[in-house]
């Protein structure tokens, strides 16, 4: 998933921020000073106004590869399983229950009787169609690799095998058999992802018959979906309106009638609109501007929780002088990560020298030292440099953004102070930067990674030799072997232990320098209930409701429903 969002839209929003700063300075406070902006809903009851931070590329579950599309798909489609709104634990959705084979490679899902929004019965064939389509090279899905969990998925996506050969089949209309490539323990969580939603093949066939381009099937005038809401209006780059879908399998539990989704890209504009009551909640895809974080954190409608994403610097391990692992480790130890998050990033980020965020699916983090200047200096000496001045010039490249610049400058100073090494900074516009990273045309470059599912593998895969996102030029067959073994390991605890060994092995070679784990900060009007913080920032609308009768007391949400309560 994309990670530049928190920082990139800064260019113009900084300017808008100037105005907002004036507003703060003037002490423009609303009536209830405990909250930021108005606390009276400006819309009819049972309606929610949110932001989606931009026009989605696709609303087609198989083709979507961005958070803006994902937010709409998650709420207008329903998959086999759904994520619990607080714990993200997989719970039944279209599948009521499932059987797992002894080797944990075959899942048999039993589907409930349900309908598409046009009344057509939904069958296991709709899932088979979707999963094959996700991998079919003709679909050209940027997230086709998600389907590599299915047996034969990689071959199908390469075009080396027909989509029909995929390990997915409809035993009958209500039974779906899924065969996996590896016995992945996170597969049920992963199947809650939007790529795996069913596709209304009857609609696609109908459009083809009528000579309408397939790409238009998700437009409101055509779309057929099976989720809690259906898309009824889509004004390009203005707003979408989603209305309750009476044919949704769990329609009885959907509380809001309508959700109005604006597409405001500037985070500062979104913040102003929140203050004015144009948004009840800026939504999962809107970040709060970092420069106002300290100020906003004082309000009771401000919420913060850890996020499944890491911020790090790639090291090109074949470019001298950074081909020396001792020097790489010295650099990693010379960064005062506590100071970095406290004084520079200021968003409550969790300082970390590990790649995998702590506590992912029971994973025990390595807890590598956050800062050790003495050891860093000793490593520098061992690397063959009596002083930092003897180290040849190093350049740190980052994509143009105020936030990345501040982090880079702080670290530049730390390396100068602790090791005496002079590092030059270079910023590049995003697409130029991406091509620099891809061509390994750098010494150090910043990057971030959001986990697609709650499992260490989504992070550890980054360092495997086959991974196209590994920009370090570092590879180790022993590491690859450990990952492969771990994913074939049926015992979850033994699997996590193997991952731990693998992560330690990789970070000992230091092909990247982890800096911190992201957090997500949110503003939610006090009358909006049913948004629980979770580490993937996923908040299904079906659990959200408006309660403007109650006095605006924060933290008064009832506990989220237990998984068993929802599975009916």
């Amino acid at each position: 998933m994309e990670l530049r969002r928190p920082f990139v839209r800064r260019r113009i929003s900084l300017a808008v921020g100037g105005g907002l700063a004036i507003s703060l300075a003037l002490g423009c406070r609303p009536a209830d000073t405990r909250f930021f902006g108005t606390t009276t809903p400006r819309h009819p009851p049972n309606e929610l106004w949110i932001n989606n931070a931009g026009e989605p590329e696709w609303l087609d579950p198989n083709k979507c590869a961005d958070g803006n599309g994902g937010e709409i798909i998650w709420n207008t489609f329903a998959g086999l399983v759904q994520a619990h709104p607080a714990t993200l634990e997989p719970m039944p959705a279209i599948a009521t229950h499932w059987d797992v084979s002894a080797d944990r490679r075959t899942y048999t899902f039993h589907l409930r009787p349900s309908e598409w929004s046009d009344g057509t019965p939904l069958t296991a064939h709709d899932f088979v169609f979707s999963f094959r389509r996700l991998l079919d090279p003709r679909t050209a899905s940027k997230y086709a690799t998600n389907g590599h969990i299915f047996k034969g998925g990689a071959a199908v996506s390469r075009g080396a095998a027909p989509p029909e050969s995929l390990g997915v089949r409809a035993v009958d209309d209500r039974t779906l058999e899924v065969v996996l490539e590896d016995p992945l323990p996170y597969v049920l969580s992963f199947l809650t992802f939007y790529s795996f939603m069913p596709i209304p093949r009857h609609l696609l066939a109908d459009l083809e018959r009528r000579g309408i381009e397939e790409a238009l099937w998700t437009r409101p005038e055509h779309v057929v979906s099976n989720g809690a809401y259906r898309l009824t209006e889509w004004k390009f780059r203005q707003r979408m309106v989603c209305e309750r879908n009476p044919r949704y399998w769990d329609a009885a539990h959907v509380r809001l009638d309508r959700v109005r989704v604006a597409m405001v890209e500037s985070y500062t504009t979104a913040l102003t609109m929140y203050a004015a009551g144009e948004f009840d909640w800026p939504g999962s895809n809107t970040s709060l501007p970092a420069e106002f974080m300290d100020y906003l954190a004082g309000y009771q409608d401000f919420h913060r929780h850890p996020y499944l994403a890491s911020y790090y610097y790639w090291i090109n391990t074949t470019a001298p002088p950074l081909d020396n692992p001792l020097l790489r480790r010295a650099l990693a130890l010379a960064i005062d990560r506590e100071a970095l998050v406290r004084y520079v990033t200021r968003g409550g980020q969790i300082p970390s020298a590990d790649l995998v965020p702590h506590g992912v699916a029971g994973y025990q983090g390595l807890d590598r030292p956050l800062f050790d200047p003495v050891r860093a200096r000793r490593l520098l000496l061992e690397a063959g440099y009596p002083t930092g001045a003897a180290v040849p010039a190093i350049t740190l490249t980052y994509n143009t953004s105020e936030g990345h610049k501040q982090v880079a400058e702080a670290i530049q100073q730390m390396w100068k102070d602790v090791l005496g090494i002079t590092v030059e900074l270079e910023n590049q516009e995003w697409k130029v930067f991406l091509s620099t990273a891809e061509l390994n045309n750098f010494q150090l470059c910043r990057m971030g990674w959001t986990g697609d599912y709650a499992d260490p593998f989504t992070f550890l895969e980054l360092l495997s030799s086959a991974c196209g996102n590994n920009h370090s030029n570092w590879s180790d067959p022993a590491y690859d072997q450990l990952l492969t073994e771990a994913n074939r390991e049926p015992d979850p605890l033994a699997r996590l232990a193997k991952f731990r060994v693998a992560e330690a092995l990789a970070l000992e070679a230091q092909p990247l320098i982890p800096l911190y784990t992201y957090t997500r900060s949110q503003l939610v009007k006090p009358y909006v209930r049913g948004i629980w913080g979770n580490h993937q920032d996923r908040h299904p609308w079906k659990y959200i409701w408006i309660d403007d009768s109650a006095p605006p007391e924060p933290g008064a949400d009832p506990p989220p429903p237990a998984p068993g309560e929802i599975a009916s």
Binding site: F236, A276, E278
Partner: protein, 305 residues
């Protein structure tokens, strides 16, 4: 006159061709591709995407094909918004930008000319100084400061108008004022200067000598002469209102085409970049032509071959 206009229109064609070729070359020379992201895209997928947009062809062939499509009025497909054609995107956004620029233009003319006349007619009085000082302030405040301040006061403090968005007349006022003010300031200064220049000319003396009332002298003769510099300024001003709406459209989240001008280049949305550049270039050339025609209509001294 007709011959002049026709000749100028004919000149548009080679100019447009140069613009198309230059922007095509520039956007393709930039590193990166429309499909690159920090997540690796499988090569099979990439080749499918490239084939869909014809990026797998040699560049000269792509250029020829683009020109061919252009002649048929087809600007191609957007890569950032893959379900939309560039034609559709421009058709959706350009009227919005035009509306915004229109409001800004009316505001700037209304305020600018009024202040300019006051300044010229009451030259070197308190009125003149007040009008010109206001113009100076207006000229000095950039839109990215004025916009948020207006939002702060009008939307957040007084709750009179929405802070951002697009839909009805209430949404257009604040961005229109924000965009127009800086031009109002220039127009005020130009009007004042232009009128002061003609105030001592022979035809004004003649007008006064033949006993015209002062009101008519001002409105019929002085203003017409005084507006010439304003008219020549309006061409580029309208063009720059259209292109310069980037910031205002971002601040107020207006779905015009302004933001594409920057974002499409960042996204390497090749066809969208070209479409927008062509549209802007066309408008710039058209505005310049209109200015020349307006000159001809306003100033009887000007003759065209």
């Amino acid at each position: 006159m007709t011959r002049f206009v026709l000749r100028r229109l004919a000149e548009l064609v080679p100019t447009a061709l140069v613009i198309v070729a230059a922007s095509f070359a520039l956007v393709r020379l930039a590193p990166g591709s429309p499909f690159s992201s920090e997540r690796e895209i499988p090569p099979e997928v990439l080749s499918q995407l490239n084939a869909k947009y014809g990026f797998d062809r040699p560049l000269p062939e792509q250029f020829a094909r683009y020109l061919g499509n252009l002649l048929r009025g087809d600007l191609g497909l957007s890569t950032k918004y893959p379900q939309r054609s560039v034609n559709e995107i421009i058709a959706a956004g350009f009227p919005v930008t035009l509306t915004l620029a229109g409001v800004a233009l009316i505001w700037s003319l209304l305020v600018g000319i009024t202040a300019g006349i006051i300044g010229a007619v009451r030259q070197n009085t308190v009125w003149d100084h007040a009008a010109m000082a206001t113009a100076l302030v207006g000229l000095s405040i950039p839109s990215f400061v004025l916009g948020p301040v207006l939002v702060l006061v009008v939307s957040l403090r007084w709750h009179l108008l929405p802070p951002a968005g697009w839909g009805d007349w209430r949404h257009v006022i604040l961005p229109g004022l924000t965009l127009g003010t800086i031009y109002a300031a220039s127009i005020a200064r130009l009007t004042r200067g232009g009128m002061l220049e003609v105030v001592r000319s022979d035809f004004i003396r003649t007008a006064r000598a033949k006993g015209l009332p002062e009101r008519l002298v001002i409105w019929r003769h002085m203003l017409r002469g005084g507006l010439l510099p304003v008219v020549s300024y309006l061409g580029p001003a309208i063009a720059s209102m259209l292109t310069g709406s980037v910031v205002v459209e971002k601040i107020f989240n207006i779905p015009g085409i302004g933001p594409y001008f920057v974002d499409a280049a960042f996204n390497r949305d090749y066809f969208l970049v070209m479409g927008i550049v062509l549209l802007y270039a066309f408008f710039l050339l058209l505005m310049n032509l209109l200015v020349d025609v307006a000159y001809f209509l306003l100033d009887p001294r000007i003759e065209y071959p």
